[in-house]
């Protein structure tokens, strides 16, 4: 039975590794300027963690195979080096791995979070509410009008709570249900939640950031390819959570200008 355990465990370990090694399930193509660092970090970690996984499982399988139900009274013996060897191995192998990953990971994280957006980045505001995203562009004046939560009125399509009658800056603001951005231009995304917590997840952009009620958060990124992508909510927000999504259209600058103009005329 010990031998069976060894064989089955070895099969499980190798079968588990197979889809990883053959890249059966991988993240979609990266369309951001920072995503490569995250992907590299993921690949490095996969190599180290994957190797640790397979080796440890095979070692376990081998030991159970070899040392199970030996003859009654068979003499037991100890690994030379004992616990000291194990402690040293853990510190050297894992310690190095931890340090390496910790330091490398910092670089990828820093690229996303420790740099300020360029002054000429295009500002887009995103609002998350149960169960839809809305986006706002500042219009020709380049300024967002102030928000008045008490003025939010979905029936009249005032999703953000704008007051154009009194706020000059609000009058040319463009509110949309889908997000469009120009390719190769930095976007400064200003995020706020209307009601409860939500999240902004675009797999292809390698971006995920929670909307936290009461906190104004922001993100900046640059898309490098045009296309049509999904924005998903990944923070449990209520009964319609599974269905809360919007589309992101990455357009050429020309198409983007056209799109924005058209949206402005629809306001």
């Amino acid at each position: 039975m010990g031998k069976l355990f060894g064989v089955i465990l070895a099969i499980i370990a190798l079968a588990s590794a197979y889809p990883i090694v053959t890249h059966m399930y991988v993240q979609p193509v990266d369309i951001s300027t920072h995503g490569h660092a995250i992907d590299e970090q993921l690949a490095d970690t996969m190599a180290e963690a994957g190797l640790s996984f397979v080796l440890a499982q095979l070692l376990l399988a081998f030991c159970v195979w070899k040392f199970s139900n030996r003859k009654e009274g068979a003499k037991v013996y100890h690994l030379r080096g004992g616990a000291r060897l194990m402690v040293a191995a853990a510190f050297i192998l894992v310690g190095t791995e931890v340090l390496a990953l910790g330091v490398l990971g910092q670089k990828a994280w820093a690229e996303v979070y420790f740099t300020a957006p360029k002054p000429d980045a295009l500002q887009v505001q995103a609002q998350a509410g149960q169960f839809a995203f809305y986006f706002r562009y500042p219009g020709q004046d380049g300024k967002f009008g102030p928000l008045h939560p008490d003025k939010i009125d979905e029936g009249n399509q005032n999703y953000f709570g704008l007051d154009p009658a009194n706020d000059l800056e609000s009058r040319d603001d463009i509110v949309t249900a889908e997000m469009a951005i120009p390719v190769n231009r930095e976007i400064h995304l200003l995020m706020h939640a209307k009601d409860v917590g939500h999240s902004f997840y675009v797999r292809e952009l390698r971006i995920q950031q929670d909307f936290v009620p009461g906190l104004d958060l922001s993100l900046h990124f640059t898309a490098t390819q045009t296309g049509h992508f999904e924005i998903l909510c990944t923070q449990l927000c209520g009964l319609g959570h599974y269905n809360m999504k919007a589309y992101l259209n990455v357009l050429s600058q020309e198409d983007f200008d056209k799109w924005l103009k058209q949206k402005a005329s629809e306001q």
Binding site: F53, G95, G161, V212, L236
Partner: protein
């Protein structure tokens, strides 16, 4: 020591009458079994909930017969609504984390065996002990009541993130009285755990038998002792957090709710609170909770392995110190659940480093187990197989932690099925393997009868292979970006992943069905099992020095004296290849 001995004089007389014997018992053994039974009830409900979820995900339009009788609004016509899916998910997580993973390996086995393993007649505070169980029982009843109220169970997940959990019924179904019951239940649960933890600590420090130095205690006792120290601090934070949440919900305070929120078209009358405060408080408890579940499991597995290998582990001391390091580091890592929560990005790096560092003591423990297998004479039993299976799960769940500990990778993998795969393996299934291992190992002591090994092996093989079939593919789904907590996969890229989900569902139903073999074995063996001797596994620790099942006062009024640590296997003793802790004989190679 003299005083310690005196204080061991039994705190209560033998119980008389059904109520005192089996219901409101002061006997730690009965209380241990009560915790275990409660965990069994909870795991059964939790498992059924997971079946319903898995079923709904892959056959969303299939009717589930009988379900509408329990959930009239949640599953009209037997078809689960999206909100009821979230109710199932919330209740599954809450039942499993609190009432199974905390109750069985820690409160259940700990109550039964900690006093015996240190040579005590009972816990230090038997009345506290009884109170801790019945408090936990009330918490369970309050939680399960949520299924039967018109509002339905809460839908905010076991993490109950504010303000979704704080605002009230405006935020959605189940968030009125359903959520109230959840918060009240968890607050009561905390009280039970605080009483229990205090008791474990006092008992370990004060009631050890003569000669039972701290380092002579079995690793399992150490694990319960360390865990109770963690529990005392962790539940002491969750309790006030729950009270604050309850105040936000019922008294109009705003600890977790900021101003200007418009929910269901209504501007909420709150101001000044912080949703992140809830996350900090919750995870300050929540991460140590992972170790509350897994350290007793490490202890049980080490205890079973030492016996099954017929030789001591390479170093029990190193395992104990590693468990302490894990316990210590567990307080510095809670923020790794919050990398994308909007907290200061610099703190993410601060939380990432200790998280990665925890891998070192965890790896030391794993390598000690693996190194100890070398040269052993592994006794093949269901208990030892579940212990070995635990090592495999612990490794599988551990390595995926490498990914999630790094904030940069977490940006992509956060809230995907990768996370679901990770915590189910390392915390859920691993701990459950330890519970199984402990059950097959200690059942003879607890009932006086052996469990059926053939059924046990069948149970092990289906569970072992099935578990991998369920939880390994979760990682693959996560790599593609499949989001968790979705009642249905309406996004463009997800239908392509449906075959993987179907595979998982079929594996989950099969593996779940195999658990009935265990239930049957448990009940059948309790009444029809082969009679067990006092020491069927040729063990060294004190529980094997007394009859199976033990008398009401454990040692029959004697005060055991301990001469060795619990790891004297592979030696030449008068009894064979082991020397019991209570045997005064000299051990040549000690």
């Amino acid at each position: 020591m003299e005083e310690a001995l005196k204080s061991q004089d039994h705190a209560h007389a033998p119980a008389e009458g059904f109520l005192r014997k089996y219901v409101f018992s002061l006997d730690h053994k009965v209380i241990g079994k009560q915790y275990y039974a409660l965990a069994l009830a909870a795991v059964f409900i939790g498992m059924v909930l997971s079946w319903l979820m898995r079923f709904h995900l892959v056959w969303p339009n299939a009717k589930i017969p009988g379900l509408e009788l329990i959930a009239k609004t949640g599953a009209p016509g037997g078809i689960i609504t999206p909100e009821y899916y979230l109710s199932l998910l919330t209740m599954h997580g809450t039942l499993m984390v609190f009432f199974v993973l905390t109750n069985a390996p820690f409160a259940g086995f700990g109550n039964y065996f900690l006093p015996i393993q240190i040579g005590a007649e009972d816990m230090a505070f038997p009345r506290f002990n009884m109170m801790s169980f019945w408090t936990t029982f009330v918490a369970f009843v309050v939680l399960v009541t949520a299924f039967f109220i018109p509002d339905g169970p809460p839908i905010s997940g076991w993490t109950a993130y504010a303000p979704l959990s704080a605002i009230g019924k405006d935020a959605g179904p189940g968030l009125g009285w359903g959520q109230n019951l959840w918060v009240i239940s968890i607050a009561i649960f905390c009280i039970g755990q605080l009483l229990g933890s205090l008791n474990f600590i006092a008992t370990t420090l004060d009631l050890r038998a003569k000669g039972m130095t701290l380092m002579r205690m079995p690793i399992s006792t150490w694990a319960w002792f360390i865990t109770s120290s963690i529990g005392l601090l962790a539940f002491a934070v969750l309790l006030p957090a729950c009270l604050l949440l309850l105040l936000d919900r019922m008294a109009g305070t705003s600890f977790f709710i900021p101003s200007g929120l418009v929910v269901s078209d209504r501007l909420q009358n709150h101001a000044g609170g912080s949703p992140l405060l809830w996350q900090h408080l919750f995870w300050f408890f929540g991460h140590p909770e992972v170790y509350i579940a897994i350290l007793p499991a490490v202890g049980i597995v080490s205890h079973v392995l030492t016996n099954s290998l017929r030789k001591p582990l390479l170093s029990a001391k190193v395992i104990i110190y590693s468990m302490m390091s894990i316990g210590f580091l567990s307080w510095m890592v809670w923020g790794h659940h919050m990398f994308v929560s909007g907290m200061n990005p610099f703190s993410s790096l601060l939380f990432s480093f200790p998280t990665l560092t925890i891998t070192i003591p965890a790896t030391i423990i794993t390598l000690i187990w693996l190194g100890s297998l070398y040269g052993a004479n592994i006794q093949i039993t269901t208990a030892s197989f579940f212990a070995l299976g635990f090592i495999s799960m612990f490794v599988s769940g551990g390595v995926s932690g490498f990914f999630l500990a790094q904030p940069s990778i977490d940006i992509y993998l956060h809230a995907t099925y990768f996370v679901v795969g990770h915590f189910h393996m390392v915390m859920g299934v691993a701990a459950i393997f330890a519970i199984f291992s402990g059950t097959y190992f200690w059942f003879p002591k607890m009932t006086g009868r052996m469990m059926n090994e053939t059924l046990g092996m069948l149970h092990f093989w289906i569970t072992f292979v099935g578990t991998y079939c369920i939880f390994m593919p979760f990682h693959y789904l996560g790599l593609v970006g499949n989001v968790r907590r979705y009642a249905s996969f309406v996004d463009d890229f997800m239908p392509a992943l449906m075959p993987v989900h179907k595979f998982i569902t079929i594996a989950a139903l099969t593996t779940g069905a195999a658990q009935f073999i265990f239930f049957f074995n448990l009940i059948h063996s309790r009444f029809r099992g082969k009679q067990a001797t006092a020491n069927p596994w040729r063990g060294t620790s004190l529980e094997w020095s007394i009859p199976s099942p033990p008398p009401w006062n454990n040692f029959g009024g004697d005060h055991p004296v301990v001469y060795h640590d619990a790891h004297q296997y592979g030696v030449k003793g008068s009894t064979g290849d082991f020397v019991m802790q209570t045997s005064p004989e000299q051990i040549l190679n000690e």
